[in-house]
Each structure stands twice: as structure tokens, then as C-alpha cells.
């Protein structure tokens, strides 16, 4: 098992390297001189030239790339032009906010999506199946942006059930420890604040969860239907086992691998979707961080922000891969 994880990890290295290179290239390909941007239009030629030298922009590209990699390996993500703070320290609260929203959304998507898919497969061609699949069909094609605005209009402006935006009450700010507010409020025993954190999470969480939930439901259904036809399912029933256990023990474990793949991929994509949702709901996450950096042409932040999101995407898929081999003992033999 360790051997397998090690091998998969080694395979990860070229992927991560390639990614850093692509991000590096894209940022370089944006027209305009970063030094000029940093100093502004009024800066003298000499000062711009001095800064270029200072930032290493006059070196050949491979030296620049190498320096950049060296920085990454020591955990140096650069310095924000806007705030003049190291990005590696500045980025955490934003990342934590995104993680919290993404986990919450994924939790909803997995719990509801998988169960809807399982029950649809179990009761194939019944009204539940039809209804769930129609909803899922609408769910995959609904634009997140539109859904977010609709939710805001209905549940927050009209019904007033949930706050329109943000992570916390302005009147009652949360004392950050880990920056995961669900955890922070619990550590401090502020159960009232915990409640408001959940309330803030629900609308952006639902908006973000909709597409993955629909895709997970559909994938779960088709994967379960395939498995439910298997001989070993018939064997389990022939033993006199309850249908619930046949479905949730025997069938689900066999159906789970394609579902996990989809969950992994969707978690990655969700990080991207979070950027849109964060904008609608003024969620102070990594999406907002990058979005604002673009407004300020804060190149180091854009570069590192994108890189961090891309890294997460790859790491999540790596974890999913490792999970497979825990579930299916045959995998490491292949």
C-alpha cells in the first residue's frame, strides 16, 4: 500500500512541475511590464529599470523560472504589490474561507446527491426516480450565477431567512483562530455565532452545491444500476439479506469508484466555481482574493492564487486515487 502511494506521489511531481511552468508562462504572456505596473505610469525610466533588475526580470526566462521554483519550494509565494505583504501569510484567511464554503457545499452535494442517486437506482422507474432525475437534469444545466442571484432574491431579500452576503455579522465579528469559522466558534463555545456562520453558509453553499449534487446523483444512479444487476447482488438477496443492506453495503461499495472520481473532479471544479459564487455573495475567499488582485493588476497574487487553486485540484485527485486502492484491494495488483 505504502509502495503504491509512493509511486503515485512520484507521478505527481511532473504534473505539479508542468503546472508551475504553465502558470509562469501565462503570467509572462500578459502584455505590459510588471515593473511599470508596480511603479505606475509616472515612474522614471531609470526607476523602472532598477526595479526590473531587482525583480530579476532582466534575467533569461529559465533563470527566472528557476528562481521562481526555488521560492515555491521554500514556501515563498512572493509579495503582494497592493499590500506589500508576503502572499504566503496573507492568503490563509482567504483560503480558509474558500475551504469552509467548498467543504460545506461538497458535504451537501455528496449527502443529498448520493442518496438521491442510490434511491433512484433502487426504485428505478418509479415517481421518485423520475422526479430526482428531472431535478438533476435541471441542476446540471443551471447557471450558478443566476441561481445565486435567485436564491438571494427569494430567500434573503423576500423571505429574509438568510443573510444576503458575507461570512459573519458585522455587529458581532468572529475572533479568528484557524479561520475556519465553524471550528473557531465551537472552540470558543460561541454556539450562537456558530448558528450565524451556518446561516451565512447556506445560500452560497447551495448555489455552489447544485451542479456537483446533480452530477453526483446521476453518476451514482447509473453506477448503482450497473452494479445492482450483478450476480453477487443476487447472491446477497438469496441469503435473505435486507434490501437496505444489499443496497448500502454490497452495491454501494462496488459502485463507489466512479462516484468518487466524480466527487474528486467536482471538488476541484468547485474551487473554480467558488470564485463566481464568492463574488455574488461577497464571500471573502480565494476567488475574491484573485478577483481583487486582477483589478489591481497585482501579478504576484494572481500568479500564486491560480497556482494554489491548481495545486489543490491536483492534490484532491491524488487523494481520490489513494482512496480507490483502500476500497478496492485489487487495484494495486493491476
Amino acid at each position: 500500500m505504502l509502495h503504491y502511494i509512493g509511486r503515485r506521489f512520484l507521478q505527481l511531481i511532473p504534473v505539479l512541475l508542468g503546472m508551475t511552468f504553465i502558470v509562469f508562462l501565462i503570467i509572462r504572456a500578459i502584455p505590459g511590464d510588471p515593473a511599470q505596473m508596480i511603479l505606475g505610469q509616472q515612474a522614471t525610466k531609470e526607476s523602472v529599470e532598477a526595479l526590473r533588475e531587482n525583480l530579476g526580470l532582466n534575467n533569461p526566462w529559465y533563470i527566472q523560472y528557476f528562481d521562481y521554483l526555488k521560492g515555491l519550494l521554500t514556501g515563498d509565494l512572493g509579495v503582494s504589490i497592493r499590500t506589500n505583504q508576503p502572499i504566503s501569510t496573507e492568503i490563509w484567511p482567504y483560503l480558509a474561507a474558500t475551504f469552509e464554503l467548498a467543504f460545506f457545499a461538497m458535504f451537501i452535494a455528496v449527502v443529498i446527491g448520493m442518496n438521491a442517486g442510490i434511491i433512484s437506482a433502487w426504485f428505478q422507474n418509479t415517481w421518485f426516480d423520475y422526479l430526482a432525475m428531472v431535478i438533476a437534469l435541471i441542476g446540471v444545466s443551471v447557471p450558478v450565477f443566476w441561481l445565486g442571484l435567485l436564491e438571494q432574491w427569494l430567500f434573503s431579500i423576500n423571505l429574509g431567512w438568510f443573510p444576503t452576503s458575507g461570512r459573519e455579522e458585522v455587529r458581532d465579528p468572529i475572533m479568528a483562530i484557524t479561520h475556519f469559522y465553524l471550528i473557531d466558534t465551537l472552540i470558543q463555545g460561541r454556539y450562537d455565532q456558530f448558528g450565524t456562520v451556518v446561516k451565512h453558509l447556506i445560500l452560497p453553499g447551495m448555489a455552489l452545491a447544485t451542479i456537483p449534487m446533480a452530477i453526483i446523483a446521476r453518476m451514482t444512479r447509473s453506477s448503482m444500476l450497473e452494479v445492482m444487476r450483478s450476480d453477487y447482488i443476487r447472491t446477497a438477496r438469496a441469503k435473505g439479506q435486507k434490501m437496505f443492506i444489499v443496497v448500502y453495503k454490497h452495491a454501494l461499495k462496488n459502485a463507489i469508484i466512479p462516484i468518487l472520481t466524480v466527487i474528486g473532479l467536482q471538488t476541484g471544479l468547485l474551487l473554480g466555481g467558488a470564485i463566481l459564487t464568492e463574488t455574488i455573495f461577497s464571500w471573502p475567499g480565494i476567488g475574491r482574493y484573485i478577483y481583487e488582485a486582477i483589478g489591481f493588476r497585482d501579478y504576484p497574487v494572481i500568479q500564486s492564487g491560480i497556482l494554489v487553486v491548481a495545486f489543490l485540484f491536483v492534490i484532491i485527485n491524488f487523494i481520490v486515487d489513494i482512496l480507490y486502492s483502500f476500497i478496492d484491494k485489487r487495484i494495486k495488483y493491476n
Binding site: T235, K239, G240, K242, M243, H250, K253, R330
Partner: protein
């Protein structure tokens, strides 16, 4: 009498219309006996056994009429919950495909213990001991180690032994074995059949053995039922059926059994294939392939005739009970 099937009809409702895969069949299984059901592929053997288990895939299939009486209790009237108490406990089943009949993601031990604990309120330890004991009984060596292994680590023959151990684990009154050796090597086939025969004696569970191999039937069954296109066409004690096959189809089947002693160049095979159940609406379903068919056979449904006390067959040649197929031909030619 252990099991009595009366007028059982199981229909599949498909896009091509209604298919009566099992078409009003009647038979009995007595305590502790081995009853064979033979017939070519598609004649409804598996559907018959799934009907008894209450496991006909629904949709599209359904028992549309008849009774299945287990010690007098009609299984077709039971709720799913009541039926669950019977499956694995009173009636157990062994399937054709040992390679796919065990869940690939659970250990052998897990699946055996599960089967035992569904019907016995035992703790895991006791169930595990019983599982190991059962595995030894079916001739599996290293039983303790096998408990921790996954199905893909076992050969087909070993897996089928595991399936047999599982089927017998709760000491059922009836074991339905649906072509238990078809997917196995010839040498393993013989071993498994021998094992089934030994276990039948030891546990006194009745066995309903489904096969298309009359050789196997001759060796281990006491009585045999011949099915053709969803119907029973002949039923008799094994000795009797080989001595005096009374339905032309049975005779064809017997002729197509390879005989080791005679070195025949070509093996006899019945021309044509089993018609899809329901495709022949009038007349004898075997008529298109029958060398004795006459006009009447295409226009009327042959009823079941008594050949002797416990020997029945569905063929017009038996009308008035005069002799057998062979005699008839002699008379006519």
C-alpha cells in the same frame, strides 16, 4: 412432501410483448431427494428457480399465476419480509457463475459470516467458527486463512465450494443449484458434483439440480424433469427415463450425451434451437424440430399423459398409453 409447484407461470413483460418464460409447470420435491431439471439453454430453468426464491427480476418479470407450496405454505403470497426469512434459511441457492457470485470487495469470511448471522442471532466469533467448519466440510483447506482472503484470490472451483458452504450454512431444507458446474473445468465439475451428493446425504437437504448435462443427472439424481420452452415435457425416475424416454425431445437429449465407451465420430444433436417461450401459440412446441411430428402436433396442444405410475410425458404419441416413442415409430414405418 417438501415443495410443490402448482401451475406456476412466470411472465416477462418486455418491449417485444409478454414472454411466458415458465408456462404453467407442476412438480414436487420430496424431503432429502435430488431432483434434476434438464433442458437446453433458454427453456426456463433459471426462471423456475428464481421464481421459487422470489427473486425474479421485477421489472420486467413477475409470477403471474400458480402456487409454490413449501411444506404447505404458499410462497407466492408471502410479503418480501416473510420471504427474506425463507431465503438462505429454508431454501438456499447456488448459482452458475462462481466467478461473479461473490462480492469482490468483501472477504470470504465477511460474506460467510453475513449469511450465517442473517438467520442466527450469534456473535461474530461463533459465526466465524461455524463458517470455518462449513468451509472444511466442503473440502476447502486453509479455511482459517481463506476467511481473510478476497474472491479474486480463489480459483473458480474454490469459489463454488465457498458458495456451497454458504448455501448449507443455515442447514436449508432445499438447495437449488442452478448449473453449479457449467463454468468449471471438467475435473473440478466431477469433484463438485460428488461433493453435492455427499452433502445431500450428510445434511439431508433436498437438492433441485438444474443442468443441461444428462450425464450428471444419471449419476446423482433420483428423479428428473425435462423442460422445453417453458413447459415440463417429461418427468420420471432417472432409471426409467434412460430406459424408456417417452418424449422425442428427451430421446434427442439422451442421444446427444457423449458416451465414453462408444467412439462415435459425430455426436447427435437435435436440429434447430429452442423457440422463444410464447412464440409458438398453438400446437406442440417441439413440433418444428420433431421427427415424429404430424399435422395434429401443429394444431393442438398435447396434454400430459401418464406413461406409468410416476412417469409422465407431453406427447400425442402416448395417447391411449400404448407403448413408447420407439414402438410408435416401429408401428408407423
Amino acid at each position: 412432501m417438501l415443495l410443490e409447484v402448482k401451475g406456476l407461470e412466470t411472465t416477462f413483460f418486455t418491449n417485444d410483448g409478454k414472454i411466458p418464460a415458465v408456462d404453467h409447470i407442476d412438480f414436487k420435491v420430496y424431503e432429502g431427494e435430488i431432483l434434476g431439471i434438464v433442458g437446453e439453454s433458454g427453456c426456463g430453468k433459471s426462471v423456475t428457480s428464481l421464481s421459487i426464491m422470489g427473486l425474479v427480476p421485477n421489472p420486467p418479470g413477475k409470477i403471474t399465476s400458480g402456487e409454490i407450496l413449501l411444506e404447505g405454505k404458499d410462497l407466492t403470497k408471502l410479503s418480501e419480509k416473510e420471504m427474506r426469512k425463507i431465503r438462505g434459511k429454508d431454501i438456499a441457492m447456488i448459482f452458475q457463475e462462481p466467478m461473479t457470485s461473490l462480492n469482490p470487495l468483501y472477504t470470504i469470511g465477511n460474506q460467510l459470516i453475513e449469511a450465517i448471522r442473517i438467520h442466527n442471532k450469534w456473535d461474530k466469533k461463533k459465526a466465524a467458527n461455524h463458517a470455518i467448519e462449513m468451509m472444511k466440510l466442503v473440502g476447502l483447506r486453509r479455511a482459517e486463512e481463506l476467511m481473510k482472503e478476497y474472491p479474486h484470490q480463489l480459483s473458480g472451483g474454490m469459489r463454488q465450494r465457498v458458495m456451497i458452504a454458504m448455501a448449507l450454512a443455515c442447514n436449508p431444507k432445499l438447495v437449488i443449484a442452478d448449473e453449479p458446474t457449467t463454468a468449471l473445468d471438467v475435473t473440478i465439475q466431477a469433484q463438485i458434483m460428488k461433493l453435492m451428493q455427499d452433502l445431500n446425504k450428510k445434511f439431508n437437504s433436498a437438492v433441485l439440480l438444474i443442468t443441461h448435462d444428462l450425464g450428471v443427472v444419471a449419476e446423482i439424481c433420483e428423479r428428473v424433469i425435462v423442460m422445453y420452452s417453458g413447459q415440463i415435457v417429461e418427468e420420471a425416475p432417472v432409471m426409467e427415463i434412460f430406459k424408456n424416454p417417452s418424449h422425442p425431445y428427451t430421446r434427442g437429449l439422451i442421444q446427444s450425451v457423449p458416451d465414453m465407451r462408444e467412439k462415435k465420430e459425430t455426436l447427435y444433436s437435435i436440429p434447430g434451437a429452442v423457440p422463444k417461450p410464447g412464440s409458438i401459440k398453438v400446437g406442440c412446441r417441439f413440433a418444428p424440430r420433431c421427427e415424429f411430428a404430424r399435422e395434429r402436433c401443429f394444431n393442438e396442444n398435447p396434454p400430459i399423459y401418464d406413461v406409468s405410475a410416476n412417469h409422465k410425458a407431453r406427447c400425442f404419441l402416448l395417447e391411449k398409453g400404448e407403448g413408447t416413442v420407439y414402438d410408435k415409430r416401429a408401428v408407423e414405418s
